[in-house]
Amino acid sequence: MEIEKGKTAKYLKEKRPVPKEVTEQLKSFTKTKKAMLEALKEEHKTVPELAIELNMPKDEVVYQLMSLMKYGLIEPDGIDDMDEYFYYKIKENGKN
């Protein structure tokens, strides 16, 4: 059986269906990502600010925010007056 290079995912999908949790997980991440980017659209925010706005636990915000930073969508933007929390904003020229 010859499989075309670059289109092999389909081949595996037939043999091995994607579990439901995986697609659910993807959906939830996509949703969080969208909400987070939306929240940062207007102005930079800190983790506690985002947590209130997104109604999400702070540790979850840190995790997701740092992931998005790693993926190059978000960057830090200075620190608050108390030197406690960083502000984060959407990365300019980010691969969004």
Binding site: T8, A9, Q25, L26, K58, Y63, M66, E84, F86
Partner: protein, 434 residues
């Protein structure tokens, strides 16, 4: 349609590609022996490559590991299997070992991958990154970390939605979902076990609240926060992203503690905690660091001086084991301990707590030996059969042990032990030809 097993032949099989296994492999290869290095992870370099800097010289771990790793990777006498597992080792006779190695599919053709990260960029999935000890996410198509070797992408098939975006984005068309598990039959004349260690899981001490109290992290997580390839780009509390300014270290978490089943000392926690404290003082000049200890085991060359240096820098050392940790509303943590010098129970507030977790054996290796038993010591590390005269020998002739597989030790000792294992292997191999 199962293919017949490929048969490979080597002078030595090294199980585990950390620094001890790497050192053994390199020494053997330099003497002209053909070596197969089997690593279950996607990259060689072991735990050391993940570290920030190393005590007591404060060299960056990567600066020491990466050149070694690239020397190993490039050596013509060394073949490396990453993402592969040793399933069974059978001793047929002296200098005759038969080994089943299972190469798991990476779904990426490593030779063609340039490490450009285009697949990573387009992959829509985000899951917890085990190389950052769960502090951030990673994609399902990913390169483990920037100094990994091989620096090639891999597909995490468990979490992949098989959307195919990576394949389309890959400029060299190296992603290949048709890959399947491959089995090899390896005929080796000798075996070096360098399977390293596991870290203690602090969930086993519920009164510390690790897991539910988010500003408590393990020392390995702090190590990642301090490393150049760090997840947060600075030191932050994972609970709310605040910059900590009062950090506590809880030593002997899971070591010297019979109530969690590990009576021995892990030998490195005191020193790595002191090292991290020194690094934190550099990274957060305003921060207070307190180390709660039982006995400071600063025993190696230059260690005691390093400990004195930390005291001079202002790191606070308090003798007393932390009994429990409770969280306050603002995420700060209350540590309850007895200040042994004062003989009084006290409570102290810190905004971040690092649990200096101990070293536990990586026991699985003894199970793969089939017809001869690889003996373990009372603590489930590989038993050294002649500890005094030949520390690398095990209960099986021709099988040698290197590094932390035989017990807790620091990096210099692991490297020396790797050297010793390769020396013993050399003698064993020569005995065949003589």
């Amino acid at each position: 349609m199962k293919e017949t097993k490929k048969i490979l032949e080597y002078d030595a099989l090294v199980v585990g590609g950390g620094i001890a296994g790497g050192e053994s492999a390199l020494n053997l290869a330099n003497l002209g022996y053909k070596v197969l290095l089997v690593e279950k992870d996607l990259t060689i370099g072991g735990k050391m490559i993940m570290l920030s800097k190393v005590f007591p010289t404060l060299d960056c771990a990567a600066c020491i590991t990466t050149p070694k790793v690239s020397e190993i990777a490039r050596h013509q006498n060394i073949t490396i299997f990453t993402g592969a597992e040793v399933k069974r080792i059978n001793k047929l006779g002296e200098h005759r070992f038969e080994v089943d190695v299972l190469q798991k599919p990476r779904y990426v053709n490593v030779a063609d991958c340039t490490g450009c990260q285009m697949c990573e960029e387009v992959c829509p999935v985000s899951v917890s990154d085990e190389y950052q000890y769960g502090m951030v996410g990673r994609k399902a198509a990913y390169i483990p970390f920037s100094i990994a070797s091989p620096r090639a992408a891999a597909i995490d098939i468990e979490n992949c939605t098989l959307c195919g975006a990576c394949e389309r984005a890959c400029p060299t068309k190296c992603i290949d979902f048709t890959q399947t598990e491959e089995e090899f039959l390896v005929k080796a004349k000798s075996v070096v076990v360098a399977t390293g260690f596991n870290l203690f899981d602090p969930l086993k001490i519920p009164r510390y609240g690790y897991g539910s109290q988010k500003n408590i992290i393990t020392s390995m997580q702090m190590e990642r926060q301090l490393a150049p390839t760090r997840p947060f780009n600075t030191i932050l509390r994972p609970g709310d992203g605040k910059m900590p300014d009062n950090i506590a270290y809880v030593l002997c978490t899971g070591s010297r503690d019979k109530s969690v089943g590990n009576p021995i000392c892990s030998q490195v926690c005191c020193m790595y905690s002191i090292k991290q404290a020194q690094l934190l003082m550099g990274a957060l000049p305003m921060a207070d660091i307190t180390i709660y200890y039982l006995h400071i085991r600063a025993f190696g060359k230059g260690f005691n001086e390093f400990y004195a240096q930390a005291q001079d820098m202002g790191v606070e050392f308090i003798k007393g084991k932390v009994g429990k940790i409770t969280e306050k509303e603002n995420g700060n943590l209350i540590l309850r301990y007895e200040d042994i010098e004062a003989g009084v129970v006290k409570e102290a507030e810190h905004d971040m707590v690092v649990l200096s977790v101990g070293i536990l054996p990586n026991q699985g290796i003894s199970d793969v030996f089939e017809n001869e038993k690889l003996e373990l010591d009372p603590f489930n590390f590989v038993q050294q059969s002649d500890m005094l005269a030949s520390p690398a020998k095990t209960s099986i002739e021709g099988v040698f042990v290197a590094g932390t597989a035989s017990g807790p030790m620091d990096i210099p000792d692991s490297i020396l032990s790797g050297g010793a294992a390769s020396a013993e292997t050399t003698s064993y191999l020569r005995r065949e030809t003589v």
